[in-house]
Symmetry: C2
Subunit: 207 residues, 2 copies
């Protein structure tokens, strides 16, 4: 028996047979694409399957519901915030972190997440809110704590500043001004917020 796999000239195909992680990635991308174009209410499992050039069964095999699929697509798509470079300056470190947060908020999955929250019902919204909390808010608060503790060690930041309320100020300001002032957080906005709020809040008295 001749194995022709390596010699046959395969017909070009727009839908090559993909498996595992590659197919999964294509489905998650198609779900984000659908969210951005037709929104939560318009998104269907059929539409996602078509967008990923696969069958509906391949989607349902992995995600039993539209909610599960979208939660995974948003979680996988949201830029991950894992660490913040140490510039030796609390101002620069916080600015760097704020830029990462801003870029995640205004990424395609970030936009999709906000519009989904407007469209879906309350129980679904809770699920998607937890994607924001676990994917963006909690990592940010943890890293702000690291930056503050590095500043305390350097003597740049007052000892009492490693506090839950203090760590919440940046995410609170970013959420509030996006909602209330429709701020898009330019680099200048971020610098002003850090210089006018965080630097005076954190500095050691007498400086």
């Amino acid at each position: 028996m001749v194995d022709s796999r390596w010699t046959a000239d395969p017909a070009p195909s727009a839908s090559p047979r993909r498996r595992g992680a590659v197919l999964e990635r294509a489905i998650l991308d198609a779900a984000l694409e659908q969210l951005s174009t037709v929104g939560w209410n318009g998104l269907t499992m059929e539409g996602v399957a078509a967008g990923a050039q696969t069958g509906k069964a391949a989607v349902y095999r992995r995600w039993p519901s539209k909610e599960d699929l979208v939660a995974d697509a948003l979680e996988a798509g949201l830029p991950s915030i894992q660490e913040v470079p140490d510039h030796g300056s609390v101002r620069e470190d916080l600015l760097g972190l704020c830029r990462l947060v801003r870029d995640a908020m205004y990424s395609r999955p970030g936009f999709a997440l906000r519009s989904v929250l407007h469209e879906c019902d309350t129980s679904t919204a809770e699920r998607f809110n937890s994607v924001i909390l676990d994917g963006l808010v909690h990592p940010t608060v943890r890293l702000i704590g690291e930056v503050i503790r590095r500043g305390i060690t350097r003597g740049e930041v007052r000892a009492g500043a490693d506090d839950a309320y203090v760590r919440d100020v940046i995410p609170a300001m970013m959420m509030y001004r996006s909602k209330v002032c429709a701020s898009e957080w330019s680099d200048l906005d971020l610098e002003q917020m850090i210089d006018r709020v965080m630097v005076p809040l954190l500095r050691t008295p007498g400086e």
Copy 2:
């Protein structure tokens, strides 16, 4: 002709004929009551009219749509925040103000407003968001500015603290922690936020 108005014993009536402001108030109260019990989607002009013991025409004469009626009911019902007593201490003044804001957030119209925002569509949400902004957020920010300027005049607060970013910290923290931490803002929570964030942020350097 004998005028019997003052001598006749009128039959007791659950629905006396009311006009103007009294009837208007009854309709707005009934709308808030409906919002609290059946929510935005369940509220009907007929239900509100029945609750106010009047006819549907009396409601439609004043408010052409459910959205107009609910916006007015929320606006009229939300506790108004007009001034903050001068205790001669920025800490006490801000605490007093935060308690007013917290009480408005957790008033019946405050609860109704939040649940309506979860239920209604995006364009209606914009209208109701402006009730929160005009009725609660903007007055609060204006009063925080007053408290800060009083503190600067007394020499208790640093000169640069009368700043738009600084004035936004309290409403930002109250909105964020209600949403993200489901904080109900006890008196202790408010004191901790003021003592750990606002006092260090506002004080003159060297104190």
